[in-house]
């Protein structure tokens, strides 16, 4: 009598175990998630974690193009009013229905997260009012026409008023309040170590392939690769370029790659006028030059021509990048067509230098971080080699991001390497990097070289009130082309984002660098 149920249970258990193994996914990411509060700290790893738990009104596909998320459609009903139609029958993990009121609540919360070191308030600021038209229609009113509102909404994860009215960041971190509409729900969270997730079986979108996910953080590059090779994890992100050669030939591993949105470029000192010394530029005897050669476009062009971008991509990046002439990769909205990367021409560079009055060149120090971007310290050494060969004797100074960023922010350097991860819209790099520093407009906050070009500013401003996407694209292309002709920055390459999975799995590589469990599927399924 008793035997049967026990055997049945045992059989079930065995089945469950086999099932469970196939259903479990262990991922290792290189950058730690610092909070499960989707509005506390604006940081890519946090956005990736939020994406598994919460949803956005406007979602993005793997190439960062806008697609419907919790909103089915969006349009301007008046020049300064956006209307979003919301997805019906969506429920939060705790069963609460998702309605327009939740959107209003979320927008109101953005600027009011206590102690946030980098808030999402910038996405709420253009919005003067959120109007709930009906449970599935919401309108955003702005002071002026604002074409970037849908793009802004790709950064905002939606919370539930009833659930989160009183939730603090601590509640989210403890998992209590980490309740969204997303494909996974939080089982447990150990800060800086791992997040355990389980599938949300009532998810409105495509059903995730794995029932349980262990999302681990392994910051050391070599250890992360080793963990994959040892079979301890199924997926890793930020595959170090030094391991690519081996992993490409390893039968146990599959790589997934996509050209990203992060440009690595050199910034130059525009802060000192042409008649003053730049702090790290001297003549060949180490004496001050008495002028800032970097204000001369011929010198800037020479420095750009001296760089063999293909050599850097092939040798330093081991193929994990594409040479670039601009911030956005081909195929992205407002990418400037017919503008190939500056060709390597050492002789031409020397001629230009001579023309600018520096036939013997000069000395310069090229600074850069050594722990921020892929191979950052190696790249500046390579550029140093190339500049030295055209007579610009280069000293290379690599330092940790902590000290580098403070000095770069004060415009301490004459030349420096830095990176920029763009939103897929030309106005993003234009406003932040190339526009004249202007607090009232909120422009040039990352313009660490202090580049300034009135015409570029004018076009950027124009683009920000143009609601017609095609016309706006032309304006953005024009502005970017201008800045490129003027060599406002020296673009080097756009990074390729690379994930490695164990054979039998595949991950949809994303241009925005986010590593999310819902993007992993058994290889056969695709």
């Amino acid at each position: 009598m008793m035997m049967k149920p026990i055997m049945a249970v045992a059989a079930c258990f065995g089945l469950l175990c086999a099932e469970a193994r196939a259903q479990n996914l262990t991922m290792a990411v290189g950058a730690p998630v610092t909070s499960l509060d989707p509005h506390y700290h604006q940081l890519s790893p946090n956005n990736a974690a939020s994406d598994m738990i919460f949803d956005r009104l406007v979602d993005t596909d793997s190439r960062s193009r806008n697609i419907p998320g919790l909103a089915l459609s969006w349009t301007t009903v008046e020049p300064n009013v956006w209307e979003f139609k919301l997805r019906p029958n969506v429920r939060f993990h705790n069963g609460n229905p998702f309605v327009a009121e939740d959107v209003a609540f979320t927008i109101a919360r953005l600027p009011n997260v206590p102690n946030s070191p980098s808030s999402y308030a910038i996405y709420a600021r253009p919005i003067t009012a959120v109007e709930v038209v009906d449970p599935l229609t919401v309108r955003f009113r702005t002071t002026e026409p604002y074409p970037l509102l849908p793009l802004d909404m790709t950064n905002v994860r939606i919370l539930n008023r009833a659930t989160h009215e009183r939730s603090t960041t601590d509640d989210f971190n403890a998992g209590r309040a980490a309740i969204g509409t997303g494909p996974y729900r939080v089982v447990s969270h150990r800060m800086g170590d791992r997040i355990e997730l389980e599938r949300n079986d009532t998810y409105w979108g495509e059903r995730p392939a794995f029932g349980r996910v262990n999302y681990r953080m392994i910051t050391n590059d070599a250890s992360r690769t080793a963990a994959l090779l040892a079979g301890d994890v199924d997926v890793i992100d930020q595959v170090p370029t030094s391991d690519l050669a081996r992993l490409r030939t390893d039968q146990r591993v599959t790589l997934s790659e996509i050209v990203g949105l992060r440009l690595i470029f050199l910034g130059l000192d525009f802060a000192r006028p042409a008649g003053e010394n730049s702090p790290f530029v001297t003549d060949n005897n180490g004496q001050p030059l008495g002028r800032n050669p970097l204000q001369d476009v011929r010198v800037r062009r020479a420095l750009s021509m001296a760089i063999d971008r293909r050599a850097i991509v092939e040798r330093v990046m081991e193929g994990a990048a594409v040479p670039a002439s601009q911030f956005l990769p081909e195929g992205t909205y407002s990418h400037v067509p017919d503008m190939p990367p500056t060709a390597y021409d050492a002789d031409g560079a020397r001629r230009l230098l001579a023309e600018a009055g520096y036939p013997q060149g000069f000395r310069i120090t090229l600074a850069g971080p050594n722990d921020r971007y892929i191979n950052d310290a190696r790249i500046i050494q390579a550029v140093g080699q190339m500049w030295t060969r055209i007579g610009v004797r280069t000293t290379v100074e690599a330092q940790p991001w902590t000290t580098f960023v403070a000095r770069a922010g004060r415009a301490d350097f004459s030349a420096f390497l830095i990176g920029w991860g763009s939103n897929p819209d030309g106005s993003h790099p234009l406003r932040n990097i190339l526009a004249t520093v202007n607090r009232d407009r909120g422009w040039g906050a990352s313009n660490r070289g202090r580049y300034s070009n009135a015409r570029v500013d004018e076009l950027t401003l124009q683009s920000l009130s143009e609601l017609n996407d095609a016309r706006r694209e032309q304006i953005l292309i024009q502005a970017q082309r201008l800045a490129a002709d003027d060599v406002g920055v020296i673009p080097l390459h756009i990074q390729t984002n690379i994930w490695a999975t164990r054979r039998g799995l595949t991950i949809a590589a994303r241009a925005d660098e986010l590593t999310r469990a819902q993007d992993v599927r058994p290889a056969a399924a695709r």
Binding site: D221, A222, T225, A226, L229, P240, S242, D243, L244, A245, R246, A311, I312, R315, V316, N370, D371, A377, R378, Q381, A382, G384, Q385, T388, R389, R393, T394, T395, V396, E397, A398, Q399, P400, T402, T403
Partner: protein, 305 residues
């Protein structure tokens, strides 16, 4: 606390004065130590004459070419140089890199260990001998120092003074002196209760004489053990700082920085970038320690026959 009687008969006061010649002959008794000394001398000479014996100036970015990067040992580069030990990611000849790197590592390792030892041992002796407030103050400084991470010290010095080999030495001295002070004080506390010190005090010898002529020699054995190990440790610590991006400038790599750079290529089988500098580091440290071990035995007054 009350005074307790000595549990064991005190050893006889040792004789400190040792003529140089006797020292040399005693040192040479060990063939291994002698061999190590020869090896170490060769290493030091290579480091000193690096510019004359290296095939390439690895610090000159103008002669490096990334197209020569990561060449296998024995390959011939674009400049016509045969890279017997291969090249690193920048196309730097590993043999030249190692010879120049030895220089940096020795300056950093030995320099910081010697300065730290001088500072630490003096303060440790003083603390043990003076006792009371002086002891308290010095030892709390030691507590403070031991609790201060090398990484933060190095970052602060980087922020104040910028990058450079000398600044790494300063950072290491700041981090390391406390170890010497702690070790010396521990031994000196025991020694200063011994009869020979009391005898010296009765003779009203000046403090510095008691400290350095009587107390110090008897504290030497553990100090030399810690000292020779700390040279090695300083070199390894510099490697770790380099690994964390806080070490010497990247265009003037030490052995540690070479290893840290090459470490990333271990998984992909390009072993030579970190393997050969590792071997060079190992040989250097082993020879220093073998010499140090023998020195300790020779200098130890209590091991005298």
């Amino acid at each position: 606390m009350s005074t307790t009687a000595l549990p064991a008969p005190a050893p006889a006061p040792p004789r400190v004065e040792t003529p140089f010649r006797r020292f040399v002959s005693e040192f040479c008794e060990s063939k291994v130590a002698l061999g190590a000394l020869v090896v170490f001398t060769l290493i030091a000479l290579a480091a000193i004459f690096a510019p004359w014996i290296s095939p390439q100036d690895p610090y000159d970015l103008g002669v490096l070419d990334i197209m020569d990067g990561r060449l296998e040992p024995g390959s011939v580069g674009a400049t016509g140089i045969t890279h017997w030990l291969g090249t690193d990611d920048q196309g730097r000849d590993m043999l030249s890199g190692i010879i120049y790197g030895l220089r940096i590592s020795l300056i950093v390792g030995a320099g910081s260990a010697i300065i730290a030892c001088l500072v630490g041992a003096s303060l440790g002796l003083l603390a043990a001998y003076a006792g009371g407030r002086t002891d308290g103050a010095i030892m709390r400084l030691v507590d403070l120092q031991l609790s201060f991470p090398a990484i933060l010290a190095a970052l602060m010095i980087l922020a104040f003074l910028g990058k450079g080999v000398l600044n790494v030495v300063i950072a290491l001295v700041i981090v390391e002196w406390a170890y010497y002070a702690r070790t010396v004080r521990g031994t000196a506390l025991v020694e200063r209760r011994r009869e020979y010190i009391e005898a010296a005090q009765c003779l009203a010898l000046p403090t510095h004489r008691i400290l350095f002529r009587h107390l110090l020699p008897n504290c030497l054995p553990p100090l030399i053990v810690v000292g020779t190990m700390q040279v090695a440790r300083a070199i390894a610590l510099e490697a770790t700082l380099s690994f964390l991006g806080l070490g010497v400038p990247i265009t003037e790599p030490s052995l540690g920085l070479l290893i840290a750079n090459g470490y990333e290529y271990m998984l992909s089988g390009k072993y030579w970038i970190s393997f050969y500098p590792g071997i060079a580091l190992l040989i250097t440290i082993v020879s220093i320690n073998l010499v140090g071990d023998q020195l300790r035995d020779v200098l130890n007054p209590r091991l005298k026959k």
